[in-house]
């Protein structure tokens, strides 16, 4: 942490580089076991313009490292390799299929006098295995959500189909990875739940049940408001990745048409239908268009016997979004979509304004003093509930935080410590920059608080955190 202040002073500007993606590849060593056939192992390689032999060399190296480290602990193969310039992450999601992500360490470029080339200082210890390990796992989960397992593609069309699918998916997906803004939240992969009173929640239940009853094709429904989850008919793990997709990819791409200008191209459907604000975020953009296509993205979720493939219909009215999932074996028609639009549109519009009203009332009751003055991250492993007052609203491109990356790193470190032991723990850290960072773990819950109190002592910080728990977490069993 020495670099903290020295940087700003110098006359010549130093240049800071954030971590970035160097390469990302997927291979299966069993596909080219013989010499000369090594290229066959490689199923996907980014960047694609790398020379063939270098690809083979890099894959070979990874294979060797994994193989070598296995001798020390056969059950837990190597997860990452730290080098001065970069860090490599290994993940074997399915037997013999390996995903490798290589991240360049953050670095500082220090200009030299006398026209010498600048000195580059790699900050090897600044990135966390847990964070980027989680990013790799997320890549796989996202692929699996839309394509099913690697094994499934192999069964359906062999290596050829698999490489096709990988190419198609990761070409776009990797562009959306923003490694510089990955942090503790990626480790948790949590779900933000929308706070709601019981009655409004029951109304939503009633809505979901009625829609599922009258449109019996619908197998599962998820309900979100303000990009926060309220109800999931899917199992937790499937919802986790679907939630990630919705909130970081789909929703940010569709800004509110109600907020768009009157002449905006986003408005036509709303203008044409005064009864409700409902619209499809997936599938047809305009139901009235005679050319409209009724194709929806397909997703794969866990079922009793392996996986099931579903159409994903995302339908939104104002801030309320409902995801309806229908077996992919059914072909969705214009009729069905019109029926859904007619049934769901008005109800969802009404519900959205109900929720909004209720939310405003609740906020008025609880008052501004209940609004957190603290910067904190909360996560519950049991229901994946996460809450952060550190992060700004996520957008498609970046996830903004309101604290310095150094502090985020400390949070990550504390999290690693917590992961090591099962028991409840509390860690208090005084950071260089006058901040106090407190981490608490109680049963399955973790809480991280950042306090900016220059002259506070340990006891005062402890008291402060107790106060936070008493106001923010008084309705859960969270040991002080």
């Amino acid at each position: 942490m020495q670099q903290g202040k020295s940087r700003a002073g110098g006359a010549m500007q130093e240049k800071q580089y954030t971590p970035s993606l160097l390469s990302f590849f997927i291979y299966n060593p069993t596909f080219g076991p013989r010499e000369g056939e090594e290229e066959k192992k490689i199923l996907f390689y980014h960047p694609s313009d790398i020379e063939k032999n270098e690809k083979i060399r890099n894959v070979g190296l990874c294979e060797a490292i994994v193989q070598f480290t296995r001798t020390f602990c056969p059950t837990k193969p190597a997860k990452s390799l730290h080098t001065q310039k970069n860090r490599q992450f290994f993940f074997e999601p399915e037997d013999n299929f390996w995903i490798v992500m290589v991240v360049r360490n953050p670095m500082i470029e220090k200009p030299n006098k006398d026209g010498k080339p600048p000195t580059i200082e790699y900050q090897e210890e600044e990135i966390l295995d847990t964070v980027y390990g989680a990013v790799v796992r997320q890549c796989y989960s996202m692929y699996k959500l839309f394509n099913g397992t690697f094994g499934r593609a192999m069964e359906a069309g062999g290596v050829e189909l698999l490489t096709q699918k990988l190419e198609k998916f990761f070409y776009r997906y990797l562009q959306t990875l923003h490694l510089q803004s990955c942090d503790l939240l990626d480790v948790f992969g949590g779900i933000s739940f929308f706070p709601l009173d019981k009655m409004t929640y029951l109304k939503i239940q009633s809505f979901v049940n009625r829609v599922e009853e009258s449109l019996s094709l619908i197998k599962y429904t998820a309900f979100l408001y303000n990009d926060q989850l309220i109800w999931s008919g899917l199992e937790q793990d499937d919802m986790r990745i679907l939630y990630k997709y919705l909130t970081t990819s789909l929703f940010p791409r569709h800004s509110e048409p109600e907020l768009a200008g009157r002449d905006s191209p986003l408005r036509p459907e709303v203008a044409g239908n005064l009864l409700h604000y409902g619209r499809f975020l997936t599938g047809p953009t305009n139901l009235k268009d005679p050319e409209a296509k009724f194709r929806f993205p397909k997703i794969f979720v866990t079922a009793e016997d392996g996986y099931e493939e579903l159409h994903l219909i995302v339908y939104k009215a104002m801030s309320a979004a409902a995801c309806f999932m229908i077996s992919a074996s059914v072909e969705l028609t214009r009729d069905f979509c019109e029926q859904l639009d007619g049934l769901v549109g008005p109800q969802l519009t009404l519900l959205a304004s109900d929720i909004c009203e209720q939310f405003t009332i609740n906020r008025r009751i609880s008052g501004p003093e209940k609004e957190p003055q603290f910067k904190f991250i909360y996560f519950n492993h049991m229901n994946l509930a996460e809450k952060s007052t550190i992060h700004m609203r996520k957008t498609a491109s970046v996830c903004l935080t309101s604290v310095h990356p150094d502090l985020m790193k400390i949070l990550g470190d504390i999290n690693c410590d917590f992961a090591r032991v099962d028991e409840d723990e509390e860690i208090i850290v005084k950071a260089m920059t006058d901040y106090w960072v407190v981490g608490k773990k109680s049963d399955q819950r973790e809480l991280y608080v950042i306090l900016n109190q220059k002259n506070a002592n340990l006891i005062e910080v402890n008291e402060e955190v107790k106060r936070l728990c008493a106001t923010q977490f008084n309705n859960i069993f969270f040991l002080d």
Binding site: Y201, L202, K203, N209, E213, S232, N380, M382, N383
Partner: protein, 606 residues
């Protein structure tokens, strides 16, 4: 009759009052006030038999034949008999003196008397359509405001146009109404007959309030049964029923169509009476809607020619299949007297139907039931509050609310509908859960506290189908309200669904009266330090028994932990009593002695 028997929603009472039928030697009279039938044989010389609604009010006696009897009645309690033989005299066989209390001079065409409310209605003016009511109360007679019945046609020249037969008085939903049977008139553009109801309040003016559309013409008679207006139509031999409190969405306000399609009264068979009756002889069918029937208010039908007095009754079961709109059906049933079992069977029927799109119907029905349920609970509560605040204030106002059959509470729903419904194999669990949630939503919407057994039913259903994540979400949003039993139920699920442990602890914490239980749970998980920290945080450390903590610490086999716990209690004792020693009553564990004998643990000096 080809229609299925269950379609008859009106029937004659099973135990009619039987009397000697009218004949040349036997005159029959009916007294509406005492509901007594008088059979007068030969002007009373060969006997007068009085039959009342029950055996107690039946009397038989003889009196001298002093000419044809025009009318005969008892006073209340059968104390005084009054006999009218001429149009201008009434004879009281017991000689008593009468006193004139009040005198009103009005030209009267005819009168009607309603014994229930003690209101007399006089027809005045030439056309007879200005009605003047008087109310009798506590021995006084008070004039109420008169009102005019709108005639379909104003006759020219004026003549008596309102017949006594077309006017009846009855109490409906606790209010007195004058019912006017308005026949159709070719000249006045009214294609069919209607019944016009005039509301006659105790105070204030009488107002036209409801119009019942009969959609036919002919001869009619009126009854009131269970607050329903029953209109008998003689030529079609059917009856219609109207509920004036049932709102008709597609009609103008207070205009009513029949609730149900017209049906005849359920066929009735008369057992052959008399000593000559052969046991095997089948009863003979009674001719319904006979011209010899006389209809009296509110619910009496008399067949003088056959010697029967029946009470008309409404059967609710047949209405269930006649009224397709279940919301309207509920509105109808909830106002009936013996409605509970019918309502519950309708609920079961809707649920087992499994018809697509039935959830909104289920929701409507639940909401209607809970509205009535809530009103009762509120009345009950305000009564309790009034009683607690002392009978001195407003002593007359508060009456204990009557619990009618329409109050269907959670235990009724659970016992008769939901518990069996959730066990039906052929119903999808999705629908079961949706129905249970709908019921809970409706209760919540009416601010009714949901009973624990309903939550148990939800949890049971979810657990049976491994829908733990759903359960988790319900608990997360506090849809299943916190309680100790629910927390314990969750604890028992921990082995199949580990997060239930956390959910249960959270719930106990929120209850804030379950600190002992929390300690027990933590100790059972060998989380001794956690338990200790918790009891300290809630300020219960001083009073807690050290024994169970030390026991739990010993069971962990962790000596360091035992030492920490032990020291913690010693310090507490020191602080409370100035000595680290445990109280004799505190049942310090035996292990304590063992511990004392070991001076060092893990290199630590004590």
């Amino acid at each position: 009759m080809t229609e299925p028997p269950q379609q008859h929603y009106l029937e004659l009472s099973e135990n009619p009052v039987q009397f000697e039928h009218a004949s040349s030697v036997n005159n029959v009279f009916f007294d509406e006030a005492n509901k007594q039938v008088f059979a007068v044989r030969s002007g009373g010389a060969t006997g007068v038999v009085v039959k009342g609604p029950d055996d107690k009010s039946s009397v038989a006696f003889r009196m001298d034949d002093k000419g044809e009897v025009k009318c005969i009645k008892f006073s209340i309690g059968n104390k005084i008999l009054a006999v009218q033989r001429t149009s201008k005299s009434v004879v009281f066989p017991d000689k008593r003196s009468l006193k004139l209390l009040k005198n009103q001079s009005i030209n009267v065409n005819w009168y009607q008397y309603c014994p229930e409310t003690a209101v007399i209605l006089l027809s005045t003016t030439v056309q007879g359509n200005i009605l003047q009511p008087f109310a009798f109360r506590n021995g006084t007679m008070s004039k109420m405001s008169k009102f005019e019945i709108e005639l379909p046609v104003i006759p020219k020249p004026a003549k008596l146009s309102l017949s006594e037969r077309d006017i009846a008085m009855a109490t409906i939903y606790g209010q007195l109404y004058v019912m006017y049977l308005k026949h159709h008139s070719r000249t006045a553009n009214s294609p069919s007959a209607e019944v016009v109801l005039y509301h006659l309040p105790r105070e204030g003016a009488c107002k036209k309030s409801h119009v019942l559309k009969l959609n036919t013409t002919g001869k009619f008679a009126l009854n009131i049964v269970d607050n329903l207006v029953v209109v008998h139509h003689q030529s079609s031999q059917t009856s219609l029923i109207f509920d004036i409190n049932l709102k008709e969405p597609d009609c103008a306000v207070n205009t009513h169509q029949p609730v149900l399609p017209a049906r005849s009264i359920h066929p009735y068979r008369m057992p052959l009476a008399g000593p000559a009756v052969v046991p095997s002889q089948p009863p003979v069918p009674c001719q319904l809607y006979s011209s010899s029937w006389s209809v009296f208010q509110p619910d009496i039908i008399i067949s003088a020619s056959e010697g029967y007095l029946w009470y008309l009754q409404v059967k609710l079961h047949p209405t269930v299949n006649l009224l397709q709109d279940k919301g309207k059906l509920m509105d109808f049933l909830l106002r009936r007297r013996d409605c509970k079992m019918v309502i519950l069977s309708v609920c079961s029927q809707i649920l087992e139907g499994g018809v697509k799109g039935s959830l909104p119907v289920v929701a409507t029905v639940f909401d209607k039931l809970n509205q009535v349920y809530k009103e009762y609970l509120e009345a009950e509560q305000s009564y309790t509050v009034a009683m607690e605040s002392g009978p001195s204030r407003g002593s007359a106002a508060q009456k204990r609310p009557v619990r009618t059959q329409a109050v269907i509470d959670q235990s009724d729903m659970y016992t008769h509908v939901l518990s069996s419904f959730t066990e039906r194999k052929e119903v999808s669990h999705k629908f079961v859960i949706a129905v249970l949630m709908e019921y809970i939503r409706s209760l919540n919407q009416h601010q009714i506290t949901v009973q624990h057994y309903l939550y148990e039913l939800v949890i049971k259903t979810l657990v049976q189908h491994n829908l733990f994540y759903m359960l988790h979400q319900f608990l997360q949003y506090h849809v299943l309200s916190d309680s100790k039993p629910l927390a314990c139920l969750l604890l028992s699920l921990e082995s199949t669904y580990p997060p239930a442990h956390q959910l249960s602890l959270d719930m106990l914490k929120r209850l804030s009266t379950a600190n002992d239980e929390i300690v027990e749970v933590l100790l059972s998980k060998q989380q001794v330090l956690g338990a200790l920290r918790f009891i300290r945080s809630v300020g219960g450390h001083d009073n807690v028994s050290a024994r169970k903590f030390l026991d739990a610490a010993r069971q962990t086999g962790d000596q360091m932990l035992f030492y920490t716990v032990f020291r913690s209690f010693q310090q507490r004792n020191q602080r409370l009593r100035g000595s680290p020693a445990f109280n004799p009553g505190e049942n310090k564990p035996r292990i304590w002695f063992i511990f004392q004998m070991k001076p060092t643990i893990g290199g630590l000096k004590i």
